[in-house]
Amino acid sequence: MGAVPFLEVREVSRSYGRASALEKVSFFAEKGRNTLVLGPNGAGKSTLLRILALLTRPSSGIILWEGEPVCAKKRGEFRTRLGYLSHQLFLYNHLSAEENLEFFAALYDIPAREQKIVGLMEQFGLASHRSKLAGELSRGMQQRLSLARLFLSDPELLILDEPFTGLDEESSEALRSFLLSLRRFNKAVLLVTHEVREAREIADDLLILDRGRTRYFGEAPPSGKIMDLYHEKTEGSPP
């Protein structure tokens, strides 16, 4: 770890009325490392990811990017540097696969975007589906298109919320291999999933949340031990 972590979360809390979703959660994430976030239902995982994606404001606490606090004025600027993928696809069903990528590439103001789009479509096996409407693609293909959209802007931080949801065996395997390959691209990755089986090989660090609180943060144990640690910290709750 360098002197200043790439992303640092300091005592972040979030409440909705009287209900508290997160309580003083602290951790950090480094480039080139994948952080697996585990927790039972209602632990606050998705809330935490939405806060990190700067789509929800925390009630208290701060987030630092390379040591710089994410202040109100710069939220939009920081947002364009991250990629966020949830179980929702973030695709326009009535635009073709290519039009979806063109639209987001134009918004991100990506130079030489035609070349980049063609490259991404080939990389994600979408070349033969480019003119199909996104709504007519299979769930697996839509997920691939979502991933291609995610990589348009070459984000430094990737936030993935349940990316395996609804995927068939083949697409899950493709996604897992892809996430493994991300270490080479020096990205900081935060991954929330219930499919621990899918994610344990790709985790470098582990954050365990339960009832909005941090129960564990540190290096992930060997893949076979992750669930033991998880059950120990969450009193046996299912992930």
Partner: protein, 224 residues
């Protein structure tokens, strides 16, 4: 400059998407057409001065038909979570508001001209000799309508039952705008002077106030 560029990209996407979806667009135009046809057959308009009552009817149709389209502005972005993707792709979220606003304004303008044509043709409203002043009034009213309608759509898009809530929240806020709209449309159709009218001042004030407020507050409305 970057904000305007991003807004135009969002505007282009809105037009392309709506051209394919068609649902909101067709619902609004169909409602407008049926309303005018219904008034044509149900009202005895012989000898009636339509410059006053006619303008009220016209704006009533626009109020309902417009909200069928504008209410869907942000609701459709919830289908696949695309609103979040939009927020992540622009450095100034005001660009999303501006792009959607322009799309709603373009739609409201086309709806306005469609209704002017229909009301002139089927209800014998005196619109043909007052097209320029009417275009002026319609542009100002639609500018105010689009600001508020776009913002309310964004605010309610995540709420359950937003389709029902939308008109309940929007219509009361539009009352001053539509009072001015009906009065000025009546004046325009009666070939009266528009400039200097207190309704015109109210309209301009409403347009500026709501456009600026919505642009400034959109970032807060967009985030949870």
């Amino acid at each position: 400059m970057r904000l305007l560029r991003s807004a135009l990209i969002v505007f282009g996407k809105e037009i392309r998407e709506e051209a394919r979806r068609k649902e909101s667009f067709l619902a609004s135009f169909f409602f407008s057409f049926i309303s005018i046809v219904l008034f044509h057959f149900s009202l005895d308009l012989t000898g009636a001065d339509l410059s006053r009552e006619g303008s009220g009817l016209l704006w009533l149709i626009i109020l309902f038909a417009g909200s069928l389209f504008t209410g869907n502005s942000f609701r459709k972005e919830e289908e696949n979570g695309t609103f979040q993707a939009l927020l992540l792709a622009v450095s100034d979220s005001g660009a999303i508001f501006l792009g959607k606003y322009l799309a709603n304004l373009a739609f409201m303008t086309s709806l306005g001209f469609f209704l002017l044509f229909l009301s002139g043709a089927l209800l014998n409203m005196p619109v043909w000799n007052a097209l320029l002043p009417l275009a002026f009034v319609f542009t100002l009213v639609n500018a105010g309508y689009s600001s508020l309608a776009t913002m309310i759509s964004a605010l309610l898009s995540k709420e359950k039952g937003s389709a029902l809530l939308y008109p309940l929240v929007l219509y009361p806020l539009l009352v001053p705008l539509f009072m001015a709209a009906a009065a000025l449309t009546g004046t325009a159709m009666a070939s009266g002077p528009l400039l200097g009218s207190p309704w015109l001042r109210l309209l301009v004030l409403f347009d500026i106030l709501f456009f600026v407020a919505c642009m400034l507050l959109f970032e807060y409305a967009a985030e949870e």
